[in-house]
């Protein structure tokens, strides 16, 4: 059975990219997945639309109250132009290198070489957005407004958009055409807070003991899966995991699930970490 630990490791390796800092540490960045990319972009579209609507209302109010409809229209047109072309560029040039949408989903733009993200790269990746998205959109809008039933134009426009839209799905690095040309990629670097240590002081003392054979049943992958389950605290999952472990090590049927799992987690981690200090990293239960 090709097991989960191997699959998980492969998946991690696929989504991680090496970036060695000048200090010599590998940051092993995680690429943003397609879902994050798409939701960030949709969020940005919503923001742009909201800004546009607000600006339109303001412009309309000015036009109506002051009778300055020409100036209001010019300002609106210029504003639209600036919004469409500069929203992404200006925000990605900032120190956070991310638009509002990207901030919310916790991604940012990074130069593929690991060097500083330069203005030209940001401009290049976002100008290509013009042909990837806005141009076919305006074609569609134009042919829709004509109402002349130019289905050929519409279909070609849709096809065009689809090619560019799905391009990130067809390469390992999840690159848009714009990323390809600008030498950038988008990584997932969310702000995180540090949760408590599951073996922290102040928790009830551990009454349960395990034999070395019982602790040898699992490796690091299972330990960290157990950590996730304990942190999530879903009682159904806890019961399932507890039953599985009990069956494997044949012990402690009489202890409540959570207490048993916490105790086993603590014992297993201390056991595995001690081995780690001696240079033996046990990746998963098949790893001997």
């Amino acid at each position: 059975m090709a097991d989960y630990a191997v699959l998980h490791r492969e998946q991690e390796a696929r989504s991680r990219r090496t970036l060695i800092t000048p200090e010599g540490v590998d940051l092993s960045l995680r690429l943003a997945d397609a879902g994050q990319r798409l939701s960030a972009f949709l969020l940005d579209l919503v923001f742009m639309l909201l800004i546009l609507i607000a600006a339109t209302v303001v412009a309309a109010l000015i036009a109506v109250s002051g009778g300055l409809w020409r100036i209001a229209l010019i300002v609106w047109l210029l504003g639209f132009f600036v919004l469409r072309n500069c929203y992404f560029i200006v925000m990605e040039m900032g120190p956070r290198a991310a638009t509002f949408g990207k901030r919310i989903v916790g991604t940012r733009v990074v130069a593929r070489s690991g060097a500083r993200l330069t203005a030209d790269a940001v401009i290049a990746r976002n100008l290509m957005r013009e042909i990837e998205f806005f141009l076919p959109l305006s074609f569609l809008a134009a042919s829709g407004a004509d109402g002349a039933g130019e289905t050929a134009t519409t279909i070609i426009g849709l096809l065009w958009t689809c090619i560019f839209l799905f391009f990130p799905l067809f390469n390992r690095d999840r690159l848009r055409i714009g990323d390809l040309l600008a030498g950038t990629w988008v990584i997932s670097a969310p702000k995180r807070s540090l949760g408590f240590d599951l073996i922290a002081a102040g928790r009830p003392a551990n009454r349960l003991t395990f034999t070395p054979e019982q602790l040898d049943a699992y490796g690091a992958f299972e330990l960290q899966t157990l950590e996730r389950v304990l942190r999530a605290g879903n009682s159904e999952a806890l019961t399932t995991v507890a039953d599985t472990i009990r069956a494997k090590i044949a012990a402690w049927d009489n202890v409540p699930d959570v207490e048993f799992l916490n105790a086993y987690y603590e014992a297993l981690r201390i056991h595995l970490e001690r081995k780690l200090l001696f240079g033996k990293r046990r990746l998963d239960k098949h790893d001997r």
Partner: protein, 332 residues
């Protein structure tokens, strides 16, 4: 299990957690506001805290199986790294750099492609002129109906003269808007972006754009309005056509780099070309904006042919000087 065995792991969290949180706070402030929101002491402390967090990460990876800790440190170190080694200039400073240095330098580096694009435009214009002269039916092939707006061989000379001066019932604003935002930007951006299809669509677009010019000259020239059309075009045309030529040059550069990458890999070569071309394109947008202003406002106000020629030529000289006059570089 005694607590003694857990000493190594507990030490890392207990000993360093305060520093991590301090670093986290500083980076958050820098990300949310700007690096300037940090005090001098904070700025001095930041690199130290960052290196300490990196070393914590190395230690945690080698000695701990606490997933929460490792994930937290990885994320913290990545954020701090991008701040410490990231952007150092403010957006304003970057914009200034763009106007003073990057934009003219990018256009200058495209000089070979610019010459080719100019040549293609001229060839297109001559071809358009000759074709329409030989058979007026060609006019409709070069100029789409929406753009011609009644200016064709069926129109009277008086009507054509009217389109060159005065606003012939049209509002200057609508002309300004339609031209600036649809036609020019589309041609320019398409000429650039389609470059990566080996530059072939770009070449066609440039020739076609020239052909349209030639067709207009053939039409107006046939009615003895060639000189006047020149004035009508040149006031914004030197800026606008130059911008479209540069956009075409940017597209050609990308196409060229994909077909003939030289020593670099095809991808690296396209990336290098894409970045230069992108800067030039940002400049093209600025040029098109200026052209739109000249067209929308300048041309409606100024109806004297000679003044139009003077303004157009001055603009051309300004652009040429801005791009190609030798200047001192920042690094000597």
């Amino acid at each position: 299990m005694s607590d003694l065995e857990a000493v190594g792991r507990f030490n890392l969290r207990a000993a360093r957690e305060a520093e991590w949180h301090q670093l986290d706070q500083l980076v958050t402030i820098a990300e949310k506001k700007s690096p300037r929101a940090l005090s001098d002491e904070d700025l001095m402390a930041l690199p130290v805290l960052y290196r300490s967090a990196l070393s914590s990460l190395s230690v945690a990876r080698e000695t701990s199986l606490d997933l929460e800790l490792i994930v937290f440190l990885e994320s913290l170190c990545a954020r701090a790294y991008f701040f410490v080694y990231g952007v150092r200039t403010s957006p304003l400073r970057r914009i200034e750099q763009f106007f003073v240095r990057d934009w003219p330098a990018a256009v200058r580096s495209l000089w070979r492609e610019t010459l080719i694009a100019t040549f293609l435009t001229v060839v297109g214009a001559i071809a358009g002129f000759l074709l329409v002269r030989s058979d007026p039916l060609w006019f409709d092939a070069f100029v789409p109906e929406g753009l011609a707006s009644g200016r064709n061989f069926a129109a009277s000379t008086e009507y054509l003269r009217g389109t060159l001066y005065g606003s012939d019932g049209k509002d200057w604003l609508s002309i300004f808007a339609t031209f600036l935002f649809t036609h020019n930007s589309q041609i320019a951006i398409m000429a650039f972006a389609l470059g990566f299809a080996f530059g072939v669509p770009t070449t066609f677009l440039i020739i076609y754009n020239g052909g349209m010019l030639g067709a207009f000259f053939a039409l107006f020239g046939a009615r003895g309005l060639g000189f006047q059309l020149g004035g009508w075009l040149i006031i914004h045309g030197t800026t606008e056509i130059f911008a479209i030529i540069i956009a075409g040059a940017a597209g050609l550069r990308i196409g060229w780099s994909v077909v003939f990458p030289g020593e670099a890999s095809r991808l690296d070569s396209a990336t290098a070309a894409g970045r230069t071309a992108a800067i030039a394109m940002a400049g093209v947008v600025v040029m098109l904006f200026v052209a739109g202003l000249l067209e929308g406002i300048g041309r409606q106000m100024i109806t004297n042919d000679l003044v139009r020629y003077a303004i157009g030529s001055t603009m051309l000289l300004l652009w040429l000087g801005f791009y190609y006059l030798p200047r001192r570089t920042a690094d000597g």
